[in-house]
Symmetry: C2
Subunit: 319 residues, 2 copies
């Protein structure tokens, strides 16, 4: 029994039971993987994989149980490396943040400069993707943190922590009829009124889009969504060229920088959303990661986060 066998089993499962793929991902030969797994099964006295003749099709029941234990072992092996790095190179290391474009473009710039100053030796990297992908990246150890608004909380094995809340904002061109409303009129804006114009907003998987859909559907309104994009910059660009009105996250509108557009605070129409940070349950986080979390959201103190990670699947109320 050795760590290599654990790696092979885990990777084979991740590569959809394709040994050849698994071997390639681990930079080794396919027969080596095959042999190691066979020997491992032999030692345990069980079959881990369901085989149709020679094709590996899936996990057996004991294989499922074994793979779960292996996941826990490999998680701790990863922790071992992190723990020792924590002492060997106190303020050095890497921090990979998996997030949506909105976070990378509008929220992280408020945090990262200060973090960088405090930990100049930490190598930062940002990865973007859909919330589903972000969660996957964290679960597989490819990223340390996932930051997103939607669906993160539902992923098993992921601990999610409330970071900040926000509301949507409507952006229009200065020459648009809605641009001239007085602020009292803006406060009274209804979904019907918005639906009179073509709408440019987020793709289905991002930044509270489901809340937008739900809001309209709740009043049986069928808005004309002429364009979907995953980021507010694209949306603003198309609003600017006259495609329609934009609905974007409040954080994505800056009156100063977006001086070519008018923002209408209509948050109440689409509800309040909580952006959450997700970490893998049971991981060891480097000291600077805790500091990062506290910089991003003061309520996420080391104690709060550690408890959430240990309680494994625990979640903290949005308040």
């Amino acid at each position: 029994m050795n760590l290599q066998q654990f790696r092979f089993v885990r990777e084979t499962i991740r590569r959809d039971f394709n040994l050849t793929e698994a071997a390639r991902m681990l930079y080794t030969s396919q027969p080596g993987v095959s042999k190691a797994i066979l020997e491992f099964e032999d030692e345990l006295g069980i079959k881990i994989f369901e085989r149709h003749g020679k094709r590996i099709k899936g996990l057996t029941r004991p294989g499922l149980a074994v793979s779960q234990v292996i996941d826990r072992i490999m998680l701790e092996v990863d922790n071992l490396k992190k723990v020792s790095d924590e002492y060997a190179r106190r303020d050095e290391g890497g921090l990979t943040i998996a997030c949506t474009h909105t976070q990378a473009r509008y929220m992280l710039p408020k945090v990262i400069p200060a973090f960088r100053q405090r930990f100049p030796k930490v190598h930062l990297s940002l990865a973007e993707g859909s919330p589903r992908q972000l969660a996957e990246m964290v679960l597989h150890g490819q990223a340390d943190l996932a930051i997103a608004t939607e669906s993160l909380a539902l992923t098993p094995g992921l601990v999610t922590l409330p970071c900040y809340t926000w509301e949507h904002v409507v952006v229009v061109r200065p020459d648009h009829p809605l641009a001239d409303l007085r602020s009292s009129a803006v406060k009274k804006l209804s979904l019907e009124q918005l639906a009179e114009y073509p709408i440019v907003t987020y793709d289905r998987a991002f930044s509270g889009r489901t809340a937008i859909d739900d809001a309209f559907a709740g009043q049986r309104i069928h808005p004309d969504i002429v364009l979907e994009a995953i980021d507010a910059d694209v949306i603003k660009t198309y609003v600017d060229v006259g495609m329609g009105i934009g609905i974007i996250a409040g954080v994505a509108y800056d009156p100063r920088r977006d001086s070519g557009l008018v923002g209408l605070p209509v948050g109440r129409l689409f509800g309040t959303h909580t952006t959450r940070i997700g970490v893998k349950a049971g991981v060891f986080l480097r000291d600077y990661v805790y500091t990062f979390l506290e910089m991003a959201a003061p309520q996420l103190t080391r104690e709060v986060v550690q408890q959430a990670i240990m309680e494994h699947g625990g979640d903290i109320a949005p308040e």
Copy 2:
């Protein structure tokens, strides 16, 4: 990084930082252990052990952190073997119960025959020791369960579950003055009255002895404890030869088998005690272990026990 290195580190710590001892326990050469650990420290980039010249004295701070992670890894590696055995040999395996003499002699005989009938292929073994030793055996994986009344609950890393409650009983020879009391008089027996006679009872570490001491001390009575023993059989023997009156656990007195002695139910004087079963936090238990627990105490269902094990250090109220 490999499992062997983890084993060496763990064993070195357990053997009080004596490499030679650790090597012997693992049936390998001492230089091999030394080299493996040095390489491991090198790979992690930290020193695990505090060295005075060449003598290993203790753990460094990173070493402590690393050793905790290693403990979790090795726990899961053990689980791996158990999980696969669970499927490979469904009703076969071993069950080692670490318990005090009282449990082995009086309580387990009520459970083990039925268990044996249900799982004839499970090899049972009983280990006896002080509660402190029992806890240690379970924590080191030398025993699956610990059963005892005292102090188990306090051991960190051990999950303890309430099994049954009991009270003490006083045993005297038939020719003893107390033997002739009517049951109404027995109900009124006081500590003072008992303290008029020399007492034979348990050793300090066993079966509610502290409760006996506390009861007397609470009324500022200094009983004459003429003999201490770790088991009721010994106590009864000395009561029988006229050394004094005996105070033993209720389960240890059987009117039929102990016909040469008279039992006086004076439980209220020394309080009610809960015998607990301890398992290591986070372990995987074979199916038959869950069955055993439920046979020993019907309230300890699989769900209850599993939850307690997972909540790691969790405890269930005696009710």
